[in-house]
Symmetry: C2
Subunit: 428 residues, 2 copies
């Protein structure tokens, strides 16, 4: 019994389709990595096999799963290999799901698969942000696809929306809540009044945050994701290291109290903007106004707001992470790769690089905290019209919203005033 | 000067691309109808011509606009025709945007275009709901496409999401706020406390509601849209006439007051559900809980909530109507049709029909209004645990939420109690 048929014992519908010629036609795939996402991908193919076959137009079967570990008793044993060469050398494998994460060995494995004429579908944000254009070029040279829907926003089909649906629009803004861990922390801080460290610890215990949470809480994960999304939206590579990035570690319960009084939410936003031929990108905690669609995105959910010059405002919302939502996106990419065999799909992420402009000229309002005794000075610097207020949690200080200012104007005024306890940008 | 080049005078980038062979390659399109959406489609192609050409991979030019009227001084004059045969007989026209609305003559025109090997892209909800499967079959027989992204949710790319992105998921629920007019009316009633008739009149003055608003306020537009979306999500035709439909004309300021006290929003929801192999669909005003993603969809915006068996919850939000958002969706379909020339794209809407099951067995909570003196009787019928409350606006009555009940159980209890002033379903 061939390997692919043994695997089917564990599935609901085990009858391979027959082509008109009476011959069995089937697409074999491989999964690199049997961690959270990898086991999810196997589960999606097991659970939804019949409809996946129908939508792909041909039966799709998992022939190999690559992992260094053994999984005694798991159905994956039937298709498990420890040797990448088994997959690379097998001409029957047409599509590979790379869900290992990290740059090594994922980069080499991906490149070799593409060069062997296998499409690769991935959830690996780090790899796409670092080597996306090169891997897409290799895919194109070999008439296959490098697809990465799951790399941004987990189960939210934002990359396909940008590449295939919003094609008649010039995108002016793409702003997202792209990291579930930080959104969970900020939501918990808002709902329970707890401080950052306590909520982080709880999130780690619940498995919502990594033991080493830096990539999330310092904004590096969101930075990579907005670089990827901006590259597609704006047509050339936005390098993630160019994106100004601030994390959420300095957010305190006092900030949250002020936000509540303003009827706003503090959210880690990752944004790319296009304005008068210039491009900007930033990751930072923002105060989000109640009327903005991103205001009500809570917990581990993600959402991406898009402004098109014809479409106006749109938003895409869903599970930004998690085993099955991410696996669903990888599996949808596998189906897409199967359907487009022999043809590289259009990607909005074209050749070349976008140099980001300094944030100095970007306009917005700012929220500022100062010592209570600097209220008069604040009015002198920021104008008589500012309305100072306070919260119970910090009786010795005052807060206020500025008028719309450029970042540069704000910084100048803030240093003229001195004594600024903290400031947050406002998303309008 | 050929017609297509004269039209380009009005555009930003007038240089046709050259193919490798040095020959000019170009796709000609026609727009049927120069009303709100039609003029929007022309505007999208004029404004975003360069990027549309890049994304389509070939220059796309508007060769004809069909309308019975004349438009003196409008750039459309250069390409205007009153005779459909000009378009039908012109082999250069590869894609037609049908944005006339209505069944006649749109149905005949669409059929003839498809039979002549022209793809058709439409915003015509009525036609897609009535003849979608037939027109898609004709398109397939002629290796062209019948695309209708703009028919549901205006600029929201929900149809492409269902057909191309959520392909690894069995869809368990699709629920939308699919009609901008009714959502505007309910939002205004909520925010300003005005009554239905007054807000409708205002909406008509602002152009948000038709002079003959029945299709919107009685739910018929949403009924057609949810039939289309359910057909794609569930794989076979859900006939719109089978969808149980209630409009919003009976909603009063008292209902709104109760909703506020419950911290819920009243919204016209259009829903399709799949459960244990059975299918259900309903259009009706619902109370939407605050934690539900559809809760904060206000004004003329639309949103569609999707629950997949792997993906979990997702939501797509944007402008559900309006000239440019709808035109953006039609134009994106035109680009898709150009890119897929010679190949009919996959549609989840397969052959056959889905017989909808009776709503009797569907479970949910209900909100009930009764005369104040029936409070004790209500507890006897619906259980001691119900919590009766009232609102200032209606001192002589009480309201309460039931436990989770099937529709049938609810109806039985409601007639046992008698005297029910009104009831609303709760979306959980």
């Amino acid at each position: 019994m061939p390997r692919s048929l043994r695997w089917q014992k564990h599935k609901e519908f085990a009858v391979p389709f027959m082509t008109n010629e009476g011959e069995e036609e089937m697409i074999q795939i491989a999964i690199l990595g049997y961690g959270t996402v990898g086991s999810g991908v196997a589960e999606v193919f097991r659970t939804n096999q019949e409809l996946i076959d129908r939508r792909a137009g041909v039966p799709v079967r998992v022939k190999y799963v690559l992992d260094l570990r053994d999984f005694p008793g798991d159905p994956v044993e039937e298709v498990l290999t420890h040797d990448f060469q088994d997959i690379l050398q097998d001409p029957e494998v047409k599509v590979v799901a790379e869900v290992m994460g990290g740059l090594k060995p994922a980069y080499d494995f991906t490149k070799q698969c593409l060069e062997s004429g296998k499409s690769v579908c991935t959830s690996n944000t780090e790899l796409v942000a670092a080597h996306g254009p090169e891997l897409m070029r290799i895919a194109q040279e070999h008439h296959v696809n490098y697809l990465y829907e799951a790399s941004c926003g987990g189960g939210i089909p934002i990359i396909r929306a940008l590449n295939e649906a919003l094609t008649a629009d010039e995108i002016d803004e793409i702003s997202g809540i792209l990291n579930g861990t930080t959104n969970y922390i900020l939501t918990e801080m808002t709902e329970n009044g707890a401080d950052f460290e306590a909520v982080l610890k709880e999130a780690q215990e619940l498995g919502y945050a990594e033991r080493n949470p830096e990539a999330d809480i310092e904004g590096h994960d969101a930075q990579r994701k907005i670089a990827i999304l901006s590259s597609i939206a704006f047509g050339k590579t936005v390098h993630y290291e160019d994106v100004h990035t601030e994390g959420i570690t300095k957010i305190t319960p006092v900030d949250i109290a002020y936000a509540k009084k303003l009827k706003m939410q503090i959210r880690l936003l990752a944004s790319g903007y296009r304005s008068e031929g210039k491009y900007y990108a930033i990751v930072a905690p923002f105060l989000v106004e109640k009327k903005h669609p991103l205001y009500s995105v809570n917990g581990v959910f993600n959402a991406i707001f898009v402004k098109g010059n014809m479409l106006g405002d749109a938003m895409f919302y869903g599970s930004g992470a998690g085993k099955l939502p991410t696996a669903s996106a990888v599996a949808a990419d596998v189906i897409e790769a199967v359907k487009s065999e022999g043809k590289t799909l259009y990607s909005g992420w074209g050749e070349g690089k976008i140099g980001l402009s300094s944030l100095d000229t970007l306009n917005r309002r700012f929220f500022v905290r100062i010592p209570a005794d600097r209220a008069e000075a604040a009015k002198e610097v920021f104008g008589e019209q500012i309305r100072l207020f306070d919260v119970e949690e910090a009786p010795d200080e005052k807060g206020f919203l500025t008028e719309v200012l450029t970042e540069k104007e704000f910084e100048e005024k803030a240093s003229a005033l001195g004594d600024v306890i903290s400031r947050l940008r406002v998303n309008m």
